[in-house]
């Protein structure tokens, strides 16, 4: 009985040791994954902030005004003036599209005769 107990204890110690060994390596794996991910996130954030800065730089009002001037012949952009405000009732109501009756009982006609001399 006692020897059985010893054997079982020894086996459970083996089992636990193996489990701890595996957990240890799994944890290290997860930690290195996390580290890599965080490095990636950091790099992405830096890239994002550079892109945002670039976007802001390209959209700076001075440049947009210059572009509007350069492309005036094509776009005709001008600063917003008070007289450009409109009211909804100044917009003409869209004309209803003409309803065409469906063509039924079509008759074939030919203009061949007229074209002949």
């Amino acid at each position: 009985m006692r020897s059985l107990l010893y054997v079982l204890t020894a086996l459970s110690v083996f089992g636990l040791a193996f489990w701890a060994y595996r957990e240890n390596y799994a944890t290290q794996q997860v930690l290195s994954d996390t580290q890599r991910l965080q490095r990636d996130i950091g790099a992405a954030q830096v890239r994002l902030s550079v892109l945002r800065a670039e976007w802001a730089y390209l959209n700076r009002p001075d440049r947009l005004a210059e572009l509007a001037d350069i492309n005036f012949s094509r776009l005709g952009l001008l600063p917003l003036r008070p007289d450009q405000f409109g009211r909804v009732d100044e917009v003409s109501f869209p004309q209803p599209e003409e309803i065409l009756l469906p063509i039924t009982n079509a008759v074939d006609v030919s203009t061949m005769e007229e074209q002949q001399p």
């Binding site: 996390t34 965080q38 550079v50 802001a56 730089y57 003036r81 008070p82 450009q84 405000f85």
Partner: protein, 593 residues
């Protein structure tokens, strides 16, 4: 172990025969047995103590060893529970009210040299001088071949320059990462943003510190790593700020002015939508502060908060509003304006003779100094001081940029009755345009003081009541009439019912006295006058324009047209639709009989 019997027969029997007490033998044996037991127990206890001592020793050794290990190792962020995005090592961004970037950070590199590691200092110096034309090759060579172990070459370099230096291939030229502050909009809102520079510098990092404007005012907030992800949101509007700067710069050129400033402020919240001071600078490359000459000539000088000048007749409306508020007069009360008004040696004169008497409204419309001084006499020194203090005219504005604290208004040392009279029309009290904007906002919003702020607010931020609603309304009607029939007739913008007051004050000489031909021309306006939403102050420094056969310097000819152009340009951007001003209801007089 052989157990000794307590009463061994071999000893008991002879003892009995000899007549001795056999009990003695038994006791002797018991004693011996106890002695043995004691020795055994002691040995066991000693053994246990030893085990305990070893166990404690081990435990203390482990704790001590761990402490030593932790003390000597490099600190490492715990990997498992790092939150990642919540903490950013960068200085927080600054954005406008719509979230558009005004200031952000940029990764770049610094270049430094360690001469002992250099292989070919001559070639390195030659190469560097080629890449950076402003570096002196001789000087570099001296540094590289001298005793120096370390020297900075450049604080910030571009990626192209970095690659070029890299291609030199000298191991003694090294790069350190640098985070630099970038203002993508260039000169836009330069005085508000201020600028940043490096504080403590190391090879692997440098501290970015704000040196002026909001960057300095909110330095602690911007530097806090916990705020890295939420930017500082200002009340400025990028588009409107850009439009204002453009129009004002054009106007300043047209009017041959030395400087110009404008403040556009929401009258209910106190938010400053745009604030411009010209000439301006690029915060990316902030110039050095001047060491000599007049500080107001430097582009760093922020006229909107530091430019403390007498703002002239724009103050008259405060006198009139207070007189109405106190019930001393109403807007139609007739005041005697025969001049000149003598006070001791001093004479108060009008710009020209407006006759013998005018109503209070007409005094404002014609801008009569004598009439305003008469009103101030009725108000009295004490009440005038209280009123101006309540409008915040005695302290620097609470506007949250670093320079605002320097805008201390200049008060007369001895506030005599004469001071009361001159201050009533804006002479003798020097304030900044920002002060004036706050004062006009009080009239515009119905009598509440609002403190100008650069931070975005939600909803109205009314301070204590300074004026009654009816007095503020009466003052607004007067201001509207200044534009429709008075000195600011160029200020009319169809659809926006501009109301405002002009002010032209002679500039003080640095050694006392006033210049005859140098003016500060101010136009303080609110629009739309029947329900004001915004206050706009335009101030020109030394304008002069030749028009209609003579040189004009007064505000009506200089600041007013610019303000009108500004309102026409900016009001649509603010989302204000031009509207027809509600007319005055025809007075119905009850008659009987």
């Amino acid at each position: 172990m052989i157990r000794t019997p307590l009463r061994p027969l071999a000893r008991i029997l002879p003892a009995r025969e000899n007549g001795e007490n056999p009990q003695a033998i038994e006791r002797e044996n018991i004693r011996q047995r106890h002695e043995e037991m004691q020795i055994r127990a002691r040995a066991r206890a000693e053994g246990r103590l030893l085990v305990m001592a070893v166990a404690f020793l081990c435990a203390f050794a482990v704790v001590g060893g761990r402490m030593a290990l932790m003390a000597t190792s490099e600190p490492v962020e715990p990997l498992a529970n790092a939150t990642g995005t919540a903490i950013a090592a960068q200085r927080a961004d600054i954005v406008d009210r719509e979230g558009r970037i005004l200031a952000t950070n940029f990764e770049t590199h610094s270049l430094y040299a360690q001469p002992p590691q250099m292989i070919d200092p001559v070639a390195a110096a030659k190469g560097l001088a080629k890449i950076f034309p402003d570096l002196d090759e001789k000087r570099l060579l001296e540094d590289f071949t001298g005793k120096r172990k370390f020297l900075w070459i450049r604080r910030k370099i571009s990626p192209e320059q970095k690659q070029a230096v890299h291609d030199l291939g000298d191991p003694g030229l090294l790069f350190g990462p640098r985070e630099m502050r970038l203002y993508p909009n260039g000169k836009l809102a330069a005085h508000v943003l201020g600028g940043a520079s490096f504080g403590k510098e190391g090879v692997s990092a440098a501290e970015v510190i704000g040196v002026a404007g909001v960057e300095k005012q909110f330095d602690a907030y911007l530097r806090d790593p916990a705020n890295g992800a939420d930017p500082l949101q200002l009340s400025l509007d990028l588009t409107i700020q850009a439009a204002t700067e453009r129009v004002l710069a054009g106007g300043m050129k047209l009017m041959n002015a030395k400087g110009a400033t404008s403040v556009l402020m929401d009258v209910h919240t106190g938010e400053v939508i745009s604030v411009v001071s010209l000439p301006s600078f690029d915060p990316n490359d902030r110039p050095h502060a001047p060491v000599e000459g007049d500080p107001s000539d430097s582009p760093l000088f922020n006229r909107s908060v530091q430019g403390v000048y007498e703002l002239g007749s724009t103050f008259k409306i405060f006198t009139a509003a207070q007189a109405v508020d106190l019930g001393l007069v109403n807007s139609d009360t007739i005041i005697d304006i025969r001049g000149p008004l003598r006070w001791g040696k001093f004479r108060i004169k009008d710009y020209k003779n407006y006759g013998n008497e005018l109503s209070v409204t007409k005094i404002i419309v014609k801008s009569s100094n004598i009439g305003t001084a008469r009103l101030a006499q009725q108000i009295g020194t004490k009440r005038q001081k209280q009123f101006l203090a309540a409008l915040g005219m005695f302290d620097p504005t609470p506007f949250e940029i670093f320079e605002a604290a320097a805008g201390q208004p200049l008060l007369p040392k001895n506030w005599s009755e004469l001071s009361t009279m001159t201050i009533s029309y804006g002479h003798g009290l020097s304030t900044s345009p920002m002060h004036l904007a706050a004062g006009y906002a009080t009239i515009a919003n119905g009598g509440h003081y609002v403190s100008p702020t650069i931070l975005k607010q939600d909803g109205p931020q009314y301070g204590p009541r300074v004026l009654s609603d009816s007095a503020a309304a009466a003052a607004r009607v007067m201001l509207r009439k200044v534009v429709t029939e008075g000195t600011a007739s160029f200020g009319e913008v169809p659809g926006y019912a501009v109301g405002g007051k002009t002010g032209s004050a002679d500039k003080p000489k640095p050694r006392g006295g006033y210049y005859k031909d140098r003016l500060i021309s101010t136009f303080a306006t609110m629009f739309p006058a029947h329900d004001p939403k915004y206050v706009l102050i335009v101030t020109l420094d030394e304008p002069s324009i030749y028009s209609m056969g003579e040189t004009r310097r007064t505000a009506g000819w200089t600041a007013v047209p610019i303000a009108a152009e500004l309102i026409g340009r900016v009001a649509p951007l603010l989302g204000l639709r031009p509207e027809v001003e509600p007319g005055q209801l025809a007075g119905i007089t009850l008659t009987s009989n």
